[in-house]
């Protein structure tokens, strides 16, 4: 029996969460390069820094603003997420997130909750316009890339690092290649271990990043923190970005519709709701 190939691993903090990279057949230094790539993009996509590329775009609403290739790609991914989810995954919920008190990093703590200012989110295609090298946000609107950016980055970093790798960015992950034993990478999903090969996984939850009566996951239909009866959804899909979109969509659909939705859009899934009834 052939010995298993050595897996190199690297763990770090980015985007306010724990990240891990695993690979086979490449030097560990490639994983350090991967962290640099993540940190650099995270600093450009964050809305918690006034001088980030995303913050500058949000601050100049009403104007066409030059954007990098990477930000343009993530903004286009946000548009795809909106289409894939029939509007439920809507990056234009930023004003409602601010009304819910999520105005700074979660580590710094929430600020005053003024849910009376929350409004249903506008349709993303009506307020975000993207063209080659530039983007424009309508006045009064704002964009938060959140989980969309993490799923997108996990997918891209897999392509950057190499053919046999797992990228886990705060639970949004992508597994590429055959893994240590040639059948896929063993990845934990809601207590079960699944072999993922060129697939992604993500978890959407209202149990983390919560404060008072509010939390970070905004339902764009109401502009309020989501309260659908589902509290946590884990999904395996074709990639990290797809898994993120499907998990969030399922959570927002609620317990009646989510099982059928997941059966049509996920490769594996787990749904958990309130246990108070």
């Amino acid at each position: 029996m052939r010995p298993e190939p050595a897996v190199v691993a690297h763990h770090f903090e980015a985007m306010g969460t724990a990240c891990s990279l695993f690979a086979i057949g490449i030097p560990e230094s490639r994983l350090f390069d991967g962290e640099q790539w993540v940190q650099q993009l995270a600093s450009r996509f964050t809305r918690f820094s006034a001088d980030s590329e995303l913050s500058r775009l949000n601050a100049r609403a009403g104007e066409w603003v030059e954007v990098s290739t990477e930000l343009e790609a993530v903004l286009r991914a946000a548009g795809r997420a909106y289409e894939m989810s029939a509007g439920l995954v809507n990056a234009a919920v930023l004003p409602s997130m601010l009304a819910a008190g999520y105005t700074r990093t979660f580590k710094a703590g929430a600020t005053t909750v003024v849910l009376g200012r929350a409004r249903p989110a506008p349709a993303l295609p009506a307020v975000l316009h993207v063209r080659l090298g530039s983007a424009r946000i309508e006045p009064g609107a704002g964009v938060d890339l959140g989980g969309i950016a993490k799923g997108w980055m996990a997918d891209r970093l897999c392509e950057v690092i190499g053919p046999n790798v797992v990228v886990n960015l705060g639970g949004d992950l992508r597994a590429a290649g055959a893994g240590p034993r040639g059948h896929g990478w063993p990845v934990g999903v809601a207590g079960l271990t699944l072999l993922l090969r060129n697939q992604g996984a993500a978890t959407s939850s209202v149990r983390r990043r919560k404060w008072g009566g509010a939390h970070h996951l905004i339902d764009p239909r109401s502009g309020l923190p989501a309260d659908t009866g589902l509290e946590e959804v884990s999904v395996v899909a074709a990639g990290g970005f797809e898994a993120e979109v499907v998990a969030k969509t399922a959570l927002l659909l609620g317990p009646e519709v989510a099982p059928a939705y997941c059966a049509g859009h996920a490769l594996a899934w787990w749904l958990d709701g309130r246990h108070d009834s």
Binding site: V7, N168, R181, V189, G191, L192, T203, V236
Partner: protein
Amino acid sequence: MRPVFLKVAATVLTIGATVASAVFVSSHVKNPAAPLQPSVLTGTSALGGAVVVGPLVQPTNQSPITSTYAS
């Protein structure tokens, strides 16, 4: 003479196809023991229940190298 022959041939062909279809369908009735698709590893998709695993994903007894989680 020739049009009549064509009409008769078309009628016979239609009736033949109908009979053949009926025989095929009645001999391929739905198998009530057929598995549901996608296959379910354990349990159902009830809330808080088991993970539902489709046919394109393999469960394993190996220890996970990493996990998806809420962050």
